[in-house]
Assembly symmetry: C2
Homo-oligomer: 187 residues x 2
DNA sequence: TTTTTAATTGACTAATCAGTCAACAAAAGT
DNA sequence: ACTTTTGTTGACTGATTAGTCAATTAAAAA
């Protein structure tokens, strides 16, 4: 019954349904079932709410991506787990993922660039990718370009599977999608 | 001195700079150097302005993509021209492209889905891709998934080149990026 | 030329919204 | 028990905004 969490969940839903511009704070507090004033107790301004939510969800997403990779030994199987962890989260959290896409392509993406925890996560990924390049399982090109491409490809899988949910269990499609993904990366 | 065009240009700029929610129609007409009322002469509502602009720019972008491909003979060189036409437009029109990204990931993306001209363009691309699949120069997988992936990869190139403008003339990088792109597509 | 139609203005308004605040309630600290 | 801090409410407000409209000008048609 954490009201801050209720507000963030309500905000995620409404921002995705209506967009930032058509979602008044009054609608958020109403959807969350709390008073109008309490929103400004937890978040100084509406923009603060948006950036806090953005950072929260980005952290949640990036934390999932590396789940269980230390249980695997081969580099390629690790890359594959990063790949499937990523799109699985997107499929299991479609509203949260849609919010992240919306925020990533909005003016709010600027406000997250300086956030220390996000920067740290970015660096961590960069180092992991660089390791795979050094081990010659990923082709040698700018790691930031690689990360951006990888995220873009994973996003297109999530969009396609969200539109065609039956494909989630279509092993042939998943294998083929993985094949294309790794063909992009391999040296 | 077409006022409708002036309004659309001003709107593109301001929406990218401030976002939909923080761009009042008064700011758009001011930026365009016209009266406040005329905006509602050309566009019934602010939402109409946004969707009209979205459709206009999507058409402009998609029209460029196929430029000059009939001057080429081999399928692979055609795919490469589609690829470079795409990211060149994004680099030459960064604000327009950023607006398209923003709109594509916002609630307004719904309002474009039923637009006949956009649907027609989508079908045309689908048929072209299907032709390449039939000719065995592109791997056989759902064409809508392929189109989404291709657009995603091209977007990541545009983002990376916009962030690192010097790379535009770095022939080694461009070649390498093309190599990865076609590795993704080829059978 | 005269009439009709379309473009353009900017002051105006009704509605909406982000954020405040005084009051109260609950918890935590002493 | 009592004091302080923290959480919570909802009515309120000043500012802003989308959209209107009567009036004016320009263009096109008759």
């Amino acid at each position: 019954m954490d009201k801050r969490e209720q507000l963030l969940a309500a905000a995620t839903k409404l921002f995705v349904e209506r967009g930032f511009h058509a979602t008044p704070t009054s609608a958020i507090s109403k959807e969350a079932g709390v008073s109008a004033g309490i929103l400004f107790h937890y978040f100084k301004t509406k923009d603060d709410l948006i950036t806090d939510l953005y950072v929260d969800l980005k952290k949640e997403y990036t934390n999932v991506i590396l789940k269980d990779i230390d249980k695997l030994t081969s580099d390629v199987s690790k890359i594959r787990l990063i790949w499937s962890n990523s799109w699985n989260w997107g499929l299991e959290n479609p509203i949260k993922f849609q919010f992240l896409l919306q925020a990533d392509n909005s003016i709010y993406s600027e406000s997250i660039k300086n956030h220390p925890e996000i920067i740290a996560k970015y660096h961590l990924f960069g180092e992991i990718i660089q390791g795979y390049i050094d081990n010659k399982v990923i082709t040698n090109i700018d790691i930031y370009f690689l990360m951006q491409s990888m995220f873009a490809l994973i996003t297109s899988i999530i969009k396609h599977l969200t539109l065609n949910p039956a494909l989630k269990n279509d092993q042939a499609f998943i294998e083929k999608a993985w094949e294309l993904f790794y063909n992009y990366l391999k040296p």
